[in-house]
Symmetry: C2
Subunit: 224 residues, 2 copies
């Protein structure tokens, strides 16, 4: 991934420290939340002085932006490889693709809840993501649309379908039929609904198994 081939030792060192900083940042986010992320605290944890980090990130905002970028990229990569595996596997039957993506999203999110919440949770008011990040997030949308295309339509076309089709810029002008645009969007909102409540701890203490609820939602989504 990183082209260590042409990199000088210094460049490799820099890349390593940058990675180490991000690791500690994630660790800190996991315990105190993203809004409390502190450069000084990270430095202390790494046994360095605070100002040292400014060799690696221009400021706090740049670090947070890179964390968000990494999160989107990681999710996009995960979904891409899941989709690729499903395509290679025995002839794709409709819906298997979406089911695979759904479980991939959940697994990815449970591995590090704060990472999911950083990109899909409550946003910091005033923060505006740079363009390249919205580009990655639309790659994710495209993966959903591809998988949704493989599944047969279950409903007659609705007014919303045409509303969506008439403004498909958000779908990167994906050539899917109107019902598929709707399907992908609905998939996204439903997965996010169960998953975000689980990650935010709203099911904690309720006694049932969130995995079963997730599976039921997914099943309903695919067969209905």
């Amino acid at each position: 991934m990183a082209d260590t081939g042409t990199a000088t030792p210094r460049e490799r060192y820099r890349a390593q420290i940058r990675a180490e900083i991000k690791e500690h940042a994630w660790q800190q986010i996991a315990t105190t939340g993203a809004s409390a992320l502190s450069l000084n605290a990270i430095a202390k944890q790494m046994g360095m002085s605070g100002p040292a980090l400014y060799r690696y990130y221009a400021n706090r905002d740049e670090l947070i932006t890179e964390l968000i970028r990494d999160a989107y990229r990681s999710l996009a990569d995960t979904l891409r490889s899941t989709a690729a595996e499903a395509a290679e596997g025995s002839g794709e039957e409709g819906g298997a693709g979406l089911a695979g993506l759904a479980h991939a999203v959940r697994d990815w999110a449970l591995r590090d809840p704060q990472r999911y919440l950083l990109i899909y949770g409550t946003p910091v008011p005033g923060y505006h993501a740079p363009d390249d990040i919205t580009a990655i997030s639309s790659q994710i949308m495209t993966l959903l649309l591809d998988a949704a295309s493989a599944a047969p339509p279950r409903h007659p076309e609705s007014p919303l379908d045409h509303h969506l089709a008439a403004r498909r810029a958000w779908a990167g002008d994906h050539p899917a039929p109107p019902a598929v645009l709707h399907r992908a969007l609905s998939f996204w909102t439903r997965i996010h609904g169960v998953l975000s409540l689980e990650l935010a701890g709203h099911f904690a203490g309720m006694g049932f198994d969130p995995a079963l609820l997730f599976a039921a939602e997914l099943d309903d989504l695919l067969t209905c």
Copy 2:
């Protein structure tokens, strides 16, 4: 609501200032997010010195807790009166109750997005709500269960239904049939899915009308 009948002038004054503090707190949350809430900033905005607020709230945490409590209470009140109106209206047909609640939730949330996100968005790691708050949130669950009870079952009973019925403590031991427990839970997650993405701004710039997507989700939820 507040029993101003027996209250002394001083008590009424105190109640008024407490309310004013909360108003400014909400205003501040709306612009900078809940985690950046600052007592000093509120005091300054009210033309008082910082320490003055300690006459009204023991500390920052107590204020935040009260904001959360108020948010839950307000939502519970809104849903309760919506349910009451629906019951008074022409003989309740199944599903009308849930549809009414869904729109009531959305209207309530759009009126002040940060208020919804404060209770259902990304939680502050480490914060644990006091018992009386979880009691209000389970009142909300009961309202959903009542409305879900009126709608006829659409699906054969699933394994999840029984899983939920076997541990219905989270439902306040509501005597609803298993399928209804599942229905209410699914209603909650689906409404939250569309709504939270809308409130978090994830649909912004996509060009379609979130209200239509919400309506379509609701329709699918009720008729399917």
